[in-house]
Amino acid sequence: MNPREKEASQSPKTKKIELRGILLVVPTYLWLIVTFLIPVISVLMLSFAELHPVTKNIVSFPTMNNYLTLFTNLDYVVVLLRTLLLTVAVTISSVGLAYAVAYFITFKILKNKYTILLAFQAPYIASYMMVLLAWRLLLGRSGVINSLLMSMGLTSGPIELLGYNAFSVWLVLTATWFPWLILPIFVSLEKIDRSLLEASQDLGASPFTTFLKVTFPLSLPGVFVAILFVFIPTIGEFVAPAVVGGTTGLMFGNLIYDFFLKGFRWDIGSAFAVCLLCIVILAVLVLFRKIGFEKLMESL
């Protein structure tokens, strides 16, 4: 809301409309509370409890033991750090790739823009599991790619990087995420008034400077949305690492999964999940502050 609108909203009539708007939003919020807040609170409570491994009765509450388990075990800390690193890497590469494609479609393609845009979404016709399994066939020490390279005599042994490891997880996540991220970036690039870019050049900025000073800042809302789109699901990802991660590419999500469904340590699993949640909240807050979210959206 810009200040003019704010002034306007002081009048009684607009206040009434505002109230009606709030009433419309309330049911949705209630739904959110039921489906989101209740599970989150349960997990939060559980993370401070110690359950009997067999009977699942609460042995002690509250306790920090579950959190201590995480931070005193170097293996877990390593997985956490790897997860953070992988998430940042996937975010940067997929948003970067999506930006390049979106930029190209917006400014360089004159005909059938929207068809081309849609074509990039084609991979999503296939289910995530199917795509992942295909990647599993392609990658691996004796996967399709390595076998082909060896049979053509291009390499003598298998390329280790293309085995089941963290690199493969990064590759697969980047490849599966970036088409989806093209959309928000495209929307904000397409929204930029072309005369602004001309005005910049008219004032002496080269095309590259124009990109840095005008195009990129004005596309930030799209970039911001794209970052959220990829960062949040990636930090909690457990399927891709399970399929192509091998032992060295496991992520934090896999630990939580195992505690809940294999080790039946819901208490420890909960503590791990809470840690993940805190990281996400922190990251989102930092991003909000950094970009000045509301201000940024307002100016457009």
């Binding site: 001309e198 910049s200 050049q201 900025a205 100016s299």
Partner: protein, 351 residues
């Protein structure tokens, strides 16, 4: 006189469409030069070619004597005020104005000084921190003008900058623009479809129609001595009379003789005369007027400063008369019989 901008036989085609057709003109240093013409006549295209956003299909453009072919927009000594202003929404007023100077790596204290000067020039001191969305239409207009002017271009190009403003604000901005022009002395090329704006501000006007230049001249020449039917009609509207020339007068069918100035005639052939609406007087009785005809008022519009009448003459032609409301006897009603008349020097021979 030094020539700042020169177009030599410039043509611009978009496929089959000829947007600008063999246009040539020269703009002298320090002139307020206007491109005037109806919508779609190629004004914006001409301006975009001067600023480098379009390349001429044929012909060449010179700025300060240098040919501009192959010079990209960001290297030309011109600055453009866009038709839609194109202020950067993610920057405040100061950053908008400072944009060009920062690109040119002007020292920061110099930038501060020049932006301040510019804001004073357009009477908006203290507006530095304002966001673009917090400005009124007229304020945006002024910021857009100084964002271009602060770079001290050889030529300032303006594309209908007053288009979206209401009448009152437009009139204020016209005065403002003339003052700014006087204070900075830069060459202005001003595009408009509004003859009033062009006449008020310009030193020289190019009238364009369908991509072609139809007349170049001072506002007075354009208005008083139109060379074509189009110009006579486009600039302020006019009344046409067609007839045969016979010693000192034009014989119009069903109306009679219209005497015209000696020397303005051509040989014995059909002539087209143009008489501007405000040069015609209207009354019950007319004295000391060279040509007087009978007519009947069919419509009248009271407009405050003036009254516009539509008068039906005896040859069934309808003419427009604009009578000043000053010193007027009374408003003539519809159907009333009146006399209309004009002096011979006010009838212009067009062809």
């Amino acid at each position: 006189m030094k020539i700042d901008v020169e177009l030599k036989n410039v043509t611009k085609k978009y496929g089959e469409i000829v947007a600008v057709d063999d246009v040539s003109f020269a703009v002298e240093r320090g002139q307020f030069f206007s491109l005037l013409g109806p919508s779609g006549c190629g004004k914006t295209t001409t301006l975009r070619m001067i600023s480098g956003f379009e390349t001429p299909t044929e012909g060449e453009i010179f700025i300060e004597g240098k040919p501009m072919t192959n010079v990209p927009p960001f290297k030309r000594p011109t600055n453009l005020v866009f038709q839609n202003l194109a202020l950067f929404p993610h920057m405040n007023v100061f950053d908008n104005i400072a944009f060009g100077l920062r690109i040119k790596k002007v020292p920061e204290n110099e930038i501060q000084k020049r932006v301040k000067e510019m804001l004073e020039l357009v009477r908006l001191p203290g507006y530095e921190k304002r966001k673009i969305s917090q400005l009124s239409g007229g304020e945006k207009q002024r910021i857009a003008i100084v964002r271009a002017l602060v770079n001290r271009p050889a030529v300032l190009l303006l594309d209908e900058p007053l288009g979206p403003l209401d009448l009152k604000l437009r009139e204020e901005m016209i005065v403002e623009l003339k003052r700014i022009k006087r204070e900075v002395g830069t060459t202005f090329i001003y595009v408009t479809h509004d003859q009033g704006e062009a006449l008020t501000m310009s030193d020289k006007i190019v009238v364009m129609n369908k991509g072609k230049v139809v007349q170049i001249g001072t506002p007075m020449e354009i208005y008083e001595k139109p060379k074509s039917k189009f110009v006579a009609d486009f600039i302020g509207g006019t009344n046409f009379f067609e007839g045969k020339y016979t010693d000192g007068a034009v014989e119009v069918d069903g109306l009679g003789k219209i005497s015209i100035e000696s020397g303005a005639h051509v040989s014995k052939k059909t002539l087209l005369l143009s008489v501007k609406p405000e040069k015609i007087c209207i009354g019950k009785k007319l004295k000391k007027v060279d040509n007087i005809f009978d007519g009947k008022v069919t419509e009248s519009f009271y407009q405050g400063r003036a009254i516009t009448y539509k008068v039906l003459l005896e040859n069934d032609s309808l003419i427009t008369v604009v009578a000043p409301s000053y010193g007027m006897e009374r408003v003539f009603g519809i159907g009333e019989k009146v006399k209309v008349g004009w002096n011979k020097e006010d009838a212009r021979v067009i062809t």
